[in-house]
């Protein structure tokens, strides 16, 4: 910074004034459009697409004995690429042809990915529509419903309850343990903290089925002798804990260091700083971390497969007897060859999917802002609070309050958050 300003100053001393050439008499041409699609480009795309399709249809229907929808698509796409390259090369050089072709390829990778993932989700929801409109599907269990019964008897209430209980237990362990561990990594640190971080990173690699096998061998075989909701919750905890630690760790690291230093400079202890500065600043990020961990935990099938046991009755006691959850119920339903059971399986999968999507949207709404960024309402509240504090301090100090007190109703009172650019 310093050297730049010095240079400018020395320039100024050598050439005291900058002369701007007069613009009089010079026509201002039409503004150039920097980013737009030319008509030619658009016709190139449309023409290539049309000719690609036509070529594929010709090949498949007339010339060569090819068949199959996938083959048609592939041939049409390849000939589209070829024709497009030809069309572009009529007016452009090799570099530009490569650029256009790669743009088309990138776009097709994206379209392919998003359409297939959307298709996976939509496929489940659409196949689930047979079971979903029945109210009994949400309020009854499968206790009195057999595989051959119609969809208007039986439901997945037991699986929904099981999912809620198991996830609840897992969260009750994961949230405090995960967040406090993340605080330990960030606020206290040291060699042991680095060791903990390495171990937590290693555990994110633990395959979920191995976590289930561990709980099965360590808790079920050795101690409880029976599968239970609690064992399943333990397996989910082992899976979720590293995810929550890692995500919270990242969020806490984003808390600006100068906020911490300001707090220490004001004489706050470490705990006060954590409680009044670090945690409130990172709140939305922490909530997002927990919700995303929950979304992952709810959908885990394989650890639950080994630990929770399969049942068709409502069981609200996590320590006694098998307790099924939604993903396992999906898996169990679709193993049956009966169409009604498969429809129920898709219905359960749709419920599970909607649950995960809801959690995700919730996480987005809460965590859309970064650490320390406030909504307009929060900002007003913060500036009100700091104005009150200023008033209080000045009263206690005996000096008359400055301009802050004279305009108590304005929302432009000075505060840290508003002065930040």
């Amino acid at each position: 910074m310093m050297s730049i300003t010095l240079d400018r100053e020395s320039l100024h001393t050598q050439a005291p004034s900058t002369s701007i050439p007069s613009t009089e008499g010079i026509d201002v041409g039409p503004r150039r459009r920097l980013r737009s699609v030319r008509v030619e480009d658009r016709f190139n795309l449309i023409g290539a697409a049309a000719s690609g399709l036509a070529m594929a249809v010709l090949l498949f229907g007339w010339i060569a004995p090819l068949s199959g929808a996938v083959g048609l698509g592939v041939v049409a796409y390849l000939s589209f690429l070829g024709v497009y390259a030809l069309l572009v090369s009529l007016t452009a050089d090799r570099q530009e042809v490569a650029d256009r072709l790669m743009t088309v390829l990138l776009a097709s990778a994206g379209i392919m990915l998003f359409s297939s993932l959307t298709f996976v989700v939509a496929f489940t929801l659409i196949r689930g529509r047979e079971a979903l409109p029945n109210v009994n599907f949400f309020v009854e269990s499968m206790e009195l419903a057999g595989p051959l019964d119609d969809l208007d008897t039986g439901g997945i209430a037991h699986a929904i309850i099981g999912t809620l209980i198991q996830t609840g237990i897992a969260l009750a362990i994961t949230i405090p343990l995960g967040v406090v561990t993340a605080l330990f990594l960030n606020e206290i640190g040291g060699r042991f903290a680095r060791f903990v971080r390495t171990i937590a990173d290693a555990m994110t690699a633990l395959p979920s089925i191995v976590a289930g096998l561990f709980v099965y061998a360590a808790i079920i075989v050795l101690i409880t002798q029976q599968r239970s909701g609690f064992a399943a919750a333990m397996a989910i905890t082992v899976m979720m804990l590293p995810i929550v630690i890692r995500a919270s760790d990242v969020v806490l690291r984003l808390v600006a260091g100068n906020l911490r230093e300001a707090s220490y400079a004001l004489g706050a202890t470490r705990w006060r700083t954590v409680w009044h500065v670090v945690l409130p600043t990172a709140r939305s990020g922490l909530v997002t971390a927990v919700i995303l961990g929950t979304a992952r935990g709810i959908g885990e099938t394989s650890p639950v497969l080994l630990t929770s046991g399969v049942t068709s009755v409502v069981n609200v006691n996590p320590f006694e007897g098998p307790m099924i959850s939604l993903p396992l119920q999906v898996f169990d339903f679709v193993r049956s060859p009966e169409p009604n059971m498969i429809a129920r399986g898709f219905g359960s999968a749709a419920v599970l999917l909607l649950l995960v999507l809801t959690l995700f949207v919730l996480a987005r709404v809460i965590g859309g802002r970064g650490a320390g960024e406030l909504s307009p309402r929060q900002r007003r509240a913060a500036s009100d609070a700091s104005r009150r504090d200023a008033l209080r301090i000045s009263k206690a100090g005996g000096t008359p309050p400055a301009d802050i007190a004279t305009s108590p109703s304005t929302t432009t009172a000075p505060s840290l958050t508003e002065e930040a650019p």
Binding site: M112, I199, P207, T269, L353, R364
Partner: protein, 342 residues
């Protein structure tokens, strides 16, 4: 105020009596601080305890089986612990095959989509796509399994048949019986490693995409603009600036996805029909994976068989561990990963 009091004192300008007593620079932590420290360290200890318990318990229990099987544990294809003949050669081969097929499907899609999001898409479209990718990473694997079983299995058979007919001269794309005659009926193709690999590939694309996009988006604007200023097209800029800069992110993302693909259970378990022999023909029905083996056999397992399963699980864990740590160290050492939090 550039000279401090001690400096003045040393210079003899201040009498010793005027000097305030030296302040104690070490402070005793307050009680709340002490409690916080104990609780935080305690949480760290508990976390490490849980994690180490998993590792130690698995290793201890696995020792029984490995001692009986010896080196043949790595080379035996059969899995029957009851007769003391068991090994992970076949299941490990299946796991790696499925994961490699998944990579063939996933890497081009992930790389293309990551470049599309970071370089081509603008504004609203860009943020929407980023959200969608994150959302896709949260879709439960059982949903992918359902799609694989009820949609993909049927619709991919013509493709698999076509590949095996026209590319059968490549050994691993051939589908034949023991005598080498080509098989063409649909049942020979339904539950292959190929189909499982496609489904697992789709599952890991979002993970890979977000790691790669993160790396690409950190490319310094100055270097991009320099490429443009030298007359480069967008693809030229990507090739000469973005891709070299994000190389660490690409490799790291691929390996993170590979780690997930190796450990995937439920979708694989739903699709494949388990066999216990090495099947080089990836398009042919019949494959296996370590995780599917555990899901398949844990229920009827005796004490010893359980220990054998644990040994298999431990091997899988060690492999994913190595893959993940390699990935994170590559990401951390690369230029793009030096400041990233991933």
């Amino acid at each position: 105020m550039s000279t401090t009091l001690p400096a003045l004192a040393r210079a003899g300008k201040l009498a010793d009596s005027e000097l305030p007593p030296p302040r104690d620079l070490t402070s005793r932590p307050s009680r709340s601080d002490g409690v916080f420290r104990v609780v935080a360290v305690g949480a760290g200890v508990v976390t490490v305890g849980i994690m180490l318990a998993v590792g130690v318990f698995l290793s201890l229990r696995a020792v029984d089986a490995v001692q009986v099987a010896g080196l043949s544990f790595l080379f035996e294809q059969e899995w029957s612990p009851e007769t003391q003949v068991f090994g992970i050669a076949a299941v490990l081969f299946g796991t790696v095959t499925i994961a490699l097929i998944a990579m063939v499907v996933a890497v081009p899609l992930a790389l293309g989509t990551a470049l599309l999001i970071s370089e081509v898409a603008q504004g609203r479209l860009k943020s929407t796509l980023v959200t969608l990718v994150d959302l896709m990473a949260a879709v439960p694997s059982v949903v992918f399994g359902l799609w694989g079983v009820f949609f993909l299995q049927a619709s991919v058979i013509p493709v698999a048949t076509w590949i095996s007919t026209y590319f059968g001269w490549i050994p691993f794309l051939k589908v034949g019986d023991e005598s080498g005659l080509p098989l063409t009926d649909a049942s020979a193709f339904t539950s292959s490693a190929f189909i499982a690999g496609i489904v697992v590939g789709l599952m890991v694309v979002p993970t890979q995409t977000s790691v790669m996009r993160e790396a690409f988006s950190q490319t310094p604007a100055g270097e991009r603009e320099a490429a443009f200023a030298l007359g480069s097209t967008r693809w030229g800029m990507i090739r000469s600036v973005v891709l070299p800069f994000g190389r660490g992110g690409i490799i790291g993302g691929i390996m993170l996805g590979l780690g997930r693909a190796l450990g995937e259970t439920i979708a694989v378990y739903m699709i494949i029909s388990p066999i216990f022999s090495i099947n080089w023909q990836v398009l042919k029905t019949g494959s296996n994976s370590v995780s599917a083996l555990i899901a398949l056999r844990y229920g009827e397992a005796s004490e010893f068989a359980l220990s054998a399963l644990m040994a298999a699980g431990l091997v899988l864990f060690l492999i994913t561990l190595v893959v993940n740590f390699t990935a994170s160290s590559i990401v951390a050492r690369s230029r793009s990963g030096a400041e990233s939090e991933a």
